[in-house]
């Protein structure tokens, strides 16, 4: 009996027991869904502000259909003013894919929760300098005197995409290849304002007549884009990280710096089917 008592004393240990109390999910709205207002095209169909064409986040001004402006501007500006990354949750999958998830507006600090939301995920690949013709000494300038560096990259030489254009010294610029069935950006990394409509000069007849059924065709499910980031090298090291040699673009003599150019695919995810079954948001 003493042996049994001794064994019990030795084998006994203190553990932390976690009790779980289910809560009513309807009382805790940590998920996100698209504002129903976005799908209501009744007021805009037939006009150049047709939501079926523009989506609900931007449209042309009523008094000037040449100017685009965000809708819900007060709230949009509030979000922008909160700053980069506010209200966005980051999540990295085991495979390394990173997701920017729209988080709940109320932070549930004391609860474990699972909810559906929207996420944006991007995969980028470097456009190596060796895959491109980069004319740093072209002496081409804009009307304002800014030096242009024409470039031409091809898949045949190792670029993830075929594309060409001109770099004009922006610290950081990015460009969508095809973000809308009828719209595209002017220039490449050129900072030129405005969007071009294709087919030309048919805005007035096409935009008002896009129906609810056609709206899904306006925007691609995968957004292809490219970005050029000036590398701000550490002055004391004054050299590229070793694995970026041959990848980063050297812009001399027009610009005395390195630029990293990438080509990316971005997808939107809803309702995160793979993660809903897992404890993605468990605190």
């Amino acid at each position: 009996m003493h042996a049994a008592d001794g064994y019990l004393h030795i084998a006994t240990e203190a553990i932390e027991l976690v009790q779980v109390f289910p809560q009513d999910p309807a009382q805790h709205q940590y998920g996100r869904s698209i504002d129903p207002w976005c799908f209501d095209d009744s007021e805009t169909i037939g006009t150049v502000q047709n939501k079926n064409f523009w989506g609900c986040s931007m449209t042309t001004l009523e008094y000037d259909d040449e100017l685009l402006q965000v809708t819900n501007k007060t709230e949009f500006n509030a979000v922008i003013n909160e700053g980069y990354g506010q209200g966005i949750m980051n999540f990295t999958e085991e495979t390394g894919s990173q997701y920017a998830v729209v988080g709940p507006t109320i932070s549930p600090s004391e609860a474990d929760w699972q909810a559906t939301s929207y996420a944006v995920s991007s995969q980028c690949a470097p456009v190596p300098a060796t895959a491109c013709d980069i004319q740093g000494n072209s002496n081409v300038t804009t009307d304002l005197g800014t030096t242009l560096v024409p470039f031409d990259c091809s898949i045949a030489r190792g670029s993830p995409v075929d594309f060409s254009g001109s770099y004009m010294g922006n610290t950081f610029s990015y460009m969508f290849f095809d973000f809308h069935k009828h719209l595209n950006e002017r220039g490449t990394f050129s900072g030129m304002e405005g969007l071009d409509f294709t087919p030309k000069n048919e805005e007035g007849s096409i935009i008002p007549n896009i129906t609810k059924q056609e709206r899904a065709q306006m925007f691609p499910s995968t957004w292809r884009w490219t970005a050029a980031v000036t590398l701000d090298l550490d002055i004391y090291l004054d050299s590229l990280p070793r694995d970026m040699v041959g990848k980063a673009w050297r812009m001399e003599p027009a610009y005395g710096n390195y630029v990293m150019v990438v080509a990316c695919n971005t997808t939107g995810e809803y309702p995160l089917p793979r993660y809903a079954a897992r404890s993605l948001f468990f605190t």
């Binding site: 920017a100 991007s122 980031v229």
Partner: protein
């Protein structure tokens, strides 16, 4: 959804232009190609997700739970049951021994047991008359003194020559020292208090003689209830303890 994100994200519309420099600062200074790519991926995704904050509304959760933490004790099942079984078998052993003892117990055992308690030992000192009988309980070890005519005995202690104390009994009426029948054990030593060695010797002889004459065998070994009161008297009569004692 794509439409909500993309249009404000288009660089030339300028809506998110301020935020893209946050991504620029995240990337720089470059540490490695992989880190630059990774920072760009999550940075731009974060920017693209921002318009969705504006145009989405709260929706029901799938699951919500709260947790409470408590410190508990965890012990192996084997240890608990081992202890329980050990206790039960110990109890069973006790019950078994008790039953065996009960089965084995006879009249002698009962008599011995009665005399081994405090009442039994006290009776052996002060109530030799009753103590020798067969008794059913402690009570019967003692003589009832509620009838007239029975001599009362005072119980006391007295000094011995060896410097200790010994019990001493004294007749209430005569004041003479008396001892219950057969209380030889203290006689010899109490007599030490007497100054005369010869008296002591005599006393010892007397005691021996009285024991023989009064049916020593019966007194010593047989728990006979009928113990004559004469030996007491006889004993008293020949008791050497007639010298003044120190009564305490």
């Amino acid at each position: 959804m794509a439409g909500i994100s993309i249009l404000p994200s288009v660089d030339s519309t300028g809506s998110l232009a301020e935020l893209k420099y946050s991504v620029f600062r995240q990337v720089n200074p470059p540490v490695s190609l992989g880190q630059v790519i990774s920072d760009l991926e999550i940075g731009m995704s974060t920017i693209f997700a921002l318009p969705l904050r504006v145009h989405t509304v709260p929706a029901d959760s799938i699951l919500v739970q709260t947790r409470a933490r408590k410190i508990m004790t965890r012990a192996p099942v084997a240890a608990v049951w081992l202890l329980v079984l050990a206790n039960l078998s110990f109890a069973a052993l006790g019950i078994g021994l008790a039953v065996m003892a009960w089965m084995a117990a006879d009249q002698d055992v009962h008599q011995v047991r009665t005399r081994l308690g405090v009442p039994g030992l006290a009776a052996a000192l002060f109530e030799r008359n009753s103590e020798n009988r067969i008794v059913k309980s402690d009570k019967e070890l003692y003589q009832e003194n509620d009838r007239d005519g029975l001599p009362l005995v005072l119980v006391g202690v007295q000094h011995t020559v060896t410097g200790g104390m010994a019990w001493s009994l004294r007749d209430n009426q005569t004041g003479r020292p008396c001892l219950a029948d057969g209380a030889k054990m203290s006689t010899t030593y109490i007599s030490d208090t007497t100054p005369s060695i010869s008296e002591k010797t005599t006393g010892a002889e007397e005691v021996a003689r009285i024991s023989d004459s009064s049916g020593n065998e019966a007194v010593e070994h047989q728990p006979i209830s009928i113990v004559p009161s004469e030996p007491v008297t006889q004993f008293d009569a020949v008791s050497p303890i007639e010298q003044p004692n120190h009564w305490v």
